[in-house]
Amino acid sequence: MASLDSIRQSIHESDADVGGDDAEIIPADADVEDVCDEEVDTVRSLIEPFPDDKEGVIPALQEVQGEYGYLPRFSMQLIADKAGTSMAHVYGTASFYSQFYLEPRGEHTIKVCTGTACHVKGADEISEEFCDELDVELEEVTDDGQFTVSHVRCIGACSLAPAVMVGDNVHGNVTEEKVPDVIEEYRGDDA
């Protein structure tokens, strides 16, 4: 897992890439004092339904990530306050699980399954093709802020290998030729 500093640095780099859209992306390292009251209220209302103790941390993280696509620092501070625990505990939990992202993501994450069956059926080639087509490296955000290509562990669609998951949709039997079609299906859509 990357250190906070390297994450910060990568955010600054990716901010620069995002260009005109960066006003909408909250930097990953923004503290509670750095963001406007509306953002704080948004996060507070998102995490409101969960228990006021440690039990509520993971569900709250999941909810915030559902809204922002990743976990800005200030949201983890708010979660820590509500759960009566430390920022270190919340960060430690978030960084343990592969589901959580500590830096901004594209609107759509294209998750290329690298489970056994997909591996055998050529997942590596599929993931390279997505990256080439979008002109990004793995885990990077495209210039227009729309896509991130990522690897995931088995998504359980082994009979359709190689498989790719975008949002809640599973695309099966993906070939290199089908890659542009999958991308077009989501381009311009809000996540």
């Binding site: 440690k54 941390v57 569900p59 069956a117 562990r153 088995c154 669609a157 082994c158 359709l160």
Partner: protein, 639 residues
């Protein structure tokens, strides 16, 4: 979803009479007296296009007087999705395979006309009270894929609407719970489960009844039950499918166990990557609360039980029970040493019992049909069936449920239809914790103990068929790569052991292996097995140890001859599928192949031996056609 509003309209269920009334409604919904068109809409079906097929059928048959369109879960034959079953009013049905929007349109026309096409058919089935079939189609249990199967756990999958409580009750759902609450003592429930020989389906195979007895024997103000649906083994998806297709059976199993053990609260720990399963579970829980089958005083028994969903956050190690509990507590999902075992001190320090999805789903059937019936299905050591997800180099992929004790070959050849490309080489079971079973042990009856004796394990039920084009060293490397990523890092044997093992395997597949590596791999494996804290680390070396046991010569071929016999891995050409190689001894340097190559991946001057750059090769096969001497070999994959 069509049934979203259902929970508002259902009456409270407080007695067996209420349950019987709902059963009648459910039967009307299952068999509505007109043609029913069922679209299989679990994740596999949807990924293959079932949503579009469903839309077409609904549009075309909208307002039709003689037909109604509904949705159901998984029929198991994932390879042939989308599957659509048309059930005629008399109970005979035809299941159509690989239905497209076009064929769906034609099917709708035919249904409106009142006759069914006999093309594109997977099988016919007899429902309800139907005894004979008018159409000239093979029947469900005559199709080779289904013939050796026995659907106990999957009995409702692909039949009922998973979001419709009535249809589950129509299949005798919750009658087991009613029977238990009205006429069993908790001890009698546990005895019944013990007599059934049900063992944990998550992989360990611990006797379920005994586990419940531990929990029942510990007094506490609160006890918990957990359903482990953190299905993380690559290649396994039976738990996802069960939750998507028949969520009520899992919940019913848990309530019965709650009564038997004195637990009053349950958690479903489900992978966040399974959104549809979570949806269906959530719907089921809300519906059950609204009719009073979850909550206080279930069916007037005085016993109360409630249930909530916890979404996992992506960590394979959380399949280990102590790590899973840490994750429910919103901690880092790291295991802790046992004892104390969960029945003594589990979730939040309270006595807890954890079972896997499939284990829970078996429980209602055991109560309904009796422990003896269940025990008779399996072997002397383990009762019942096991669901496997059969994938890999096999013709028919899908979810397969067979009695324990069925021979491996039956699954690979009779059900799976044999391998797709090369000869059958081995079966991998148990995912990253398991190992390979080579072809010569194909007649092994599948059971927890027989698989362990062969150095593999049952695992949660992934079964990956491997043909001769797969490199066993690379296969091990793949699993170790997985374990390195998923090792939580708490204990050194696993943290360093997996990493070190992976480095050696990478070296071997790159052609830089050394003779000492084999001994080193074995020694690392022994140490990790002995000294790791949890199951993940203890079993991480299994893929290596078992391939060393059965395919040691492949390791040596990589090390000494710098050759991959399977034509796979880095040494064999870099990609599994379609790797090409010019036979150097016979190449005359005619240069035809180089001219034909669209990506200039072939080097060599006229008159010299030519060479294909595997990195640049796209596997199009044009060189093979261009070669006048037929000396370009296709290695691995499908030609």
């Amino acid at each position: 979803m069509s049934t979203l509003l259902q929970s508002d309209s259902l009456e409270e269920i407080t007695s067996i009479e209420d349950l019987e009334a709902l059963k009648r409604d459910g039967l009307d919904s299952l068999y509505p007296g007109k043609t029913k068109v069922l679209v299989g809409m679990s994740s596999c079906g949807r990924a293959a296009g079932a949503d579009d097929v469903y839309d077409v059928l609904s549009d075309e048959l909208d307002g039709a007087e003689n037909a109604i369109v509904g949705q159901t879960g998984c029929l198991g034959f994932c390879d042939r999705e989308p599957l659509v079953e048309v059930v005629e009013p008399n109970g005979q049905s035809i299941i159509y395979e690989e239905v497209t929007e076009d064929t769906a349109e034609r099917l709708a026309d035919a249904i409106t006309r009142g006759d069914l096409p006999e093309g594109g058919v997977l099988a016919g089935r007899l429902h309800h009270e139907a005894r004979s079939h008018d159409y000239d189609v093979p029947l469900f249990d005559e199709v080779p894929f289904y013939a050796p199967q026995e659907r106990v756990v999957l009995g409702n999958s692909g039949l009922i609407d998973p979001e419709d409580l009535g249809e589950y009750v129509a299949r005798d759902g919750f009658f087991a719970l009613e029977e238990v609450l009205s006429s069993y003592t908790p001890e009698e429930v546990i005895d019944e489960v013990k007599d059934s020989n049900l063992r944990g389906r998550g992989g360990g195979g611990f006797p379920t009844g005994q586990k419940w007895e531990f929990l029942a024997g510990n007094e506490a103000d609160e006890k918990y039950l957990i359903c482990n649906a953190d299905e993380g083994d690559p290649g396994a998806y039976m738990d996802r499918t069960l939750l998507e297709s028949d969520p009520y059976s899992v919940i019913e199993g848990m309530i019965i166990a709650g009564y038997a053990t004195g637990a009053t609260h349950g958690y479903m720990y489900v992978r966040a990557e399974y959104p549809l399963a979570i949806d269906h579970l959530q719907n089921a829980i809300e519906t059950l609360r609204s009719v009073g089958l979850l909550g206080d005083d279930i069916l007037g028994s005085g016993y109360g039980f409630d249930l909530e969903i916890k979404k996992g956050a992506g960590a394979f190690v959380c399949g280990e029970e102590t790590a899973l509990m840490a994750s429910i507590e919103s901690e880092r999902g790291m295991p802790r040493p046992r004892p104390p075992f969960p029945p003594q001190s589990g979730l939040w320090g309270k006595p807890t019992n954890i079972n896997n999805v499939e284990t829970w789903a078996n429980v209602p059937q055991i109560v309904l049909e009796g422990a003896d019936w269940f025990a008779d299905i399996g072997t002397d050591q383990s009762g019942g069936t096991k669901v496997f997800s059969v994938t890999g180099d096999v013709r028919n992929t899908g979810l397969v449920e067979v009695p324990l004790g069925t021979e491996l070959e039956t699954v690979v050849f009779d059900i799976g239809g044999g391998t797709t490309g090369g000869d059958f080489k081995a079966v991998q079971t148990g995912g990253p914790s398991g190992g390979v079973i080579p072809e010569e042990y194909g007649d092994t009856p599948i059971d927890y103990d027989t698989l362990s004796e062969l150095g593999s394990m049952m695992g949660s039920g992934g079964m990956i068929v491997i043909d001769e084009s797969t490199c066993m060293v690379d296969q091990s490397r793949f699993f170790l790569d997985f374990c390195v990523d998923e090792s939580c890092g708490k204990c050194p044997p696993c943290r360093y052991g997996t990493k070190k093992t992976l480095q050696i395997l990478e070296r071997i597949t790159n052609g830089e292996g050394e003779a000492e590596d084999i001994e080193e791999l074995r020694s690392l494996g022994d140490t990790m097995g002995e000294a790791s804290l949890c199951g993940l680390g203890q079993t991480a070396p299994n893929p290596v140890m078992s391939t060393l046991d059965y395919f040691e010569q492949e390791y040596w071929a990589h090390i000494e001859d710098e050759e991959c016999p399977a034509g796979d891995c880095e040494l064999g050409g870099g990609a599994h599928a379609n790797t090409y190689k010019i036979l150097h001894d016979e190449c005359v340097g005619c240069h035809q192949c180089a001219k034909a190559c669209p990506v200039d991946a072939i080097s060599g001057e006229q008159g010299e031996v030519h060479e294909i750059d595997p990195e640049a090769c796209i596997g199009c096969g044009q060189c093979v056609e261009a070669c006048p001497l037929d000396i370009i070999e296709v290695r691995g994959g499908e030609a």
